[in-house]
């Protein structure tokens, strides 16, 4: 482990490579995190199914690829399919727990996540899957730093979606209704906003964002039915670190998390990557709590 830390300082190009890969994957984490921030802010639900939605988006793209379609087509299709899945999930289960005890909604989405995991396992088997996007790799600095173009594409798509999301929330009628409901549901209802529809649409948009993230994951990395939970936790961490309703913060936290994770998985060994993510979650929460405690906000 210490040797690896030493190596980080001795080989700046290696460090650059790690940081670059991390930042590029961080953009995908941020994409799933926008959705979580949206749902959390509007419906006050922490959506544990988030990671499974990401994996499902990946599997939709994978299935299209198996059927012979170009994986790029997977990005809009996965988003559309997941929009429907999210809408149905809201209309069957989530709306029943939306206004209840916090833990009930947490556990209900946790149950859904197990359900989705097992269904994906039944349909696509438990193997690790990936998709060939047909994109090339750039070689920099005499072949010492490699940049997969597909990761750059993922970064770009994530950035574009972030911009579109901001425009949607600011300009469109539904976006304004979503923001109004997030601020004050009762007042929004009085003013004639159908808050139930807003909740459903928010949840469906969140699922669509996850679907797009998933199709980027399957192109740039791999998917697996049980690999969803780490994505949920990453989204949660990013939102907690950035603060609710802070989209630039979400992007910064996402990129930072990607970089930190990549460095850590090099230093500690790749088998400890997930342990590091979950350990970091606990550390961030403890630190946040200590910070809030010092500012005497903990009685809230």
């Amino acid at each position: 482990m210490l040797d690896n830390i030493q190596l980080l300082f001795d080989a700046p190009l290696l460090t650059t490579q790690l940081l670059l890969d991390g930042v590029l994957i961080g953009a995908i984490f941020a994409l799933a995190a926008y959705g979580m921030a949206l749902v959390w802010g509007v419906t006050n639900i922490i959506n544990i199914v988030q990671g499974e939605f990401v994996m499902l988006g990946g599997y939709v793209t994978y299935q299209l690829y198996v059927w012979g379609a170009h994986p790029f087509l997977g990005i809009p299709v996965a988003a559309a399919v997941l929009f429907v899945v999210g809408y149905l999930a809201y209309r069957t289960v989530i709306f029943r727990v939306a206004n209840q005890d916090l833990f009930i909604s947490l556990l209900a989405t946790f149950g859904l996540s197990i359900l989705f995991q097992q269904l994906m396992n039944q349909i696509w088997s438990g193997n690790v899957q990936s998709v060939d996007s047909g994109l090339d790799t750039w070689y920099l600095f005499d072949f010492t730093v490699t940049v997969a173009q597909v990761k750059v594409l993922a970064f770009a798509v994530s950035a574009v979606i972030a911009v579109l999301l901001v425009i949607f929330l600011k300009r469109s009628r539904l976006g304004q209704a979503i923001r109004a409901t997030a601020q004050n549901p009762q007042a929004a209802r009085v003013l004639g906003i159908d808050t139930d529809r807003v909740y459903a649409m928010t949840y469906a948009i969140n699922a669509a964002l996850c679907g797009a993230a998933g199709s980027l994951v399957v192109m740039a990395y791999t998917i697996h039915p049980y690999a969803g939970l780490p994505f949920t936790v990453r989204s949660f961490m990013i939102v907690v670190t950035a603060g609710l309703g802070n989209l630039p913060g979400v992007i910064a936290a996402g990129l930072g998390l990607g970089a930190a994770e990549n460095i850590a998985s090099f230093v500690l060994g790749a088998e400890h990557r997930i342990a590091f993510v979950f350990g970091l979650l606990v550390v961030i929460l403890v630190a946040r709590n200590a910070w809030l405690g010092r500012h005497r906000k903990y009685l809230k």
């Binding site: 009930i104 947490l106 149950g111 049980y226 939970l229 088998e271 979650l281």
Partner: protein, 321 residues
């Protein structure tokens, strides 16, 4: 009246516990697992039900017990029963120490943050266990063989787990009647007011977690020997294993009650065994569905539902309204 009914019920369970392994020798392992499930549900309920701190991470204490016992039995060269006893005791002690340390750090969080932090702990523990060579990493650890016939082994563990479950139940029954029980209920109802009344909520919260850890550590220390194998997935919250079952059982029976978790564990264990036999391959899908159905439609659990339906039987006066 309630007291005598409790006594009848406990007597009946004791008779069942004494006779069942002898009457149904083929089901001994299942009966032992039933007691384990009851311990799980009860110890989760201390935190989740009585105190309102919904933890996903209690399974870690169980895993600590399991691994400690296995390491003691592997490395210390003790005679089987002494090794088991020392392993269980040490596992319990380490679990309590871990609960105290973690309690100081994360019990100050509330609501969502607490639940997610414990979820993180549970999963991180599982990932660490499957990457740590000293405890066998991903391939787990094999526990020593019971010196004797397998029937005798199963009978021994049946009675051992019943003893742990009974001790857990009696200890919790006693604790809920003391100042401790009142305090943790006050924390559940309104922590800020409880603190303002001068209760040292931090100490009580950490103590409640330690109570839960003592019994989970004991139980884990013994369970490794019944299963013959310690799997890193058992300590983790990875997927549908013990970690989520304990939450589910307590909620199914009715969280925050003395008998609820016991009832929930029995119902869940029986249903789960039926699932496992008849739905091979789809049992985990069914489990996910079950979680959603229980949580969405029966958040009060069986006892909570019964209490709403027949309040007078539970010693509640029905208020005219």
């Amino acid at each position: 009246m309630t007291v005598s009914r409790n006594a009848w019920l406990m007597g009946a369970i004791a008779i069942f516990a004494a006779l069942a392994p002898l009457v149904f020798p083929d089901y001994r392992t299942q009966i032992a697992m039933l007691w384990v499930m009851i311990i799980f549900a009860q110890t989760w309920d201390v935190m989740g039900g009585q105190m309102g701190y919904n933890s996903f991470g209690n399974i870690v204490f169980f895993g600590i017990g399991m691994y400690t016992s296995a390491v003691v039995q592997r490395d210390w060269g003790l005679e089987y029963f002494i090794g088991l006893g020392v392993g269980m005791a040490l596992g319990s002690v380490i679990a309590v120490a871990a609960a105290a340390i973690m309690g100081l750090l994360i019990l100050r969080m509330r609501g969502h943050y607490f639940a997610i932090a414990t979820l993180g702990l549970g999963i991180a523990a599982g990932e660490i266990a499957s990457g740590w060579d000293f405890i066998g990493a991903g391939s787990g650890m094999v526990t020593p063989l019971y010196p004797g016939h397998i029937d005798g082994r199963n009978l021994f563990f049946d009675y051992l787990f019943f003893a742990i479950a009974a001790i857990t139940f009696l200890c919790l029954k006693w604790l809920y009647g003391t100042r401790f029980g009142l305090t943790i209920n006050a924390i559940r109802d309104n922590e800020d007011k409880a603190e303002a009344m001068g209760l040292r909520t931090g100490t009580f919260k950490a103590f409640a977690w330690c109570v839960s850890a003592v019994f989970l550590g004991l139980c884990g220390g013994a369970l490794g020997n019944l299963l013959g194998f310690v799997d890193p997935r058992d300590v983790a919250f990875a997927g549908p294993t013990f970690g989520v079952w304990m939450v589910l059982m307590a909620i199914l029976g009715g969280k925050g009650t003395l008998w609820g978790p016991v009832l929930g564990a029995v119902v869940f264990h029986v249903t789960q065994e039926i699932f496992w036999t008849h739905l091979l391959g789809w049992q985990r899908v069914a489990l996910g569905l079950l979680i959603v159905i229980i949580v969405v439609f029966f958040p009060l659990g069986i006892l909570g539902w019964a209490r709403e339906r027949w309040p007078h039987r539970f010693g509640h006066r029905v208020e005219a309204s």
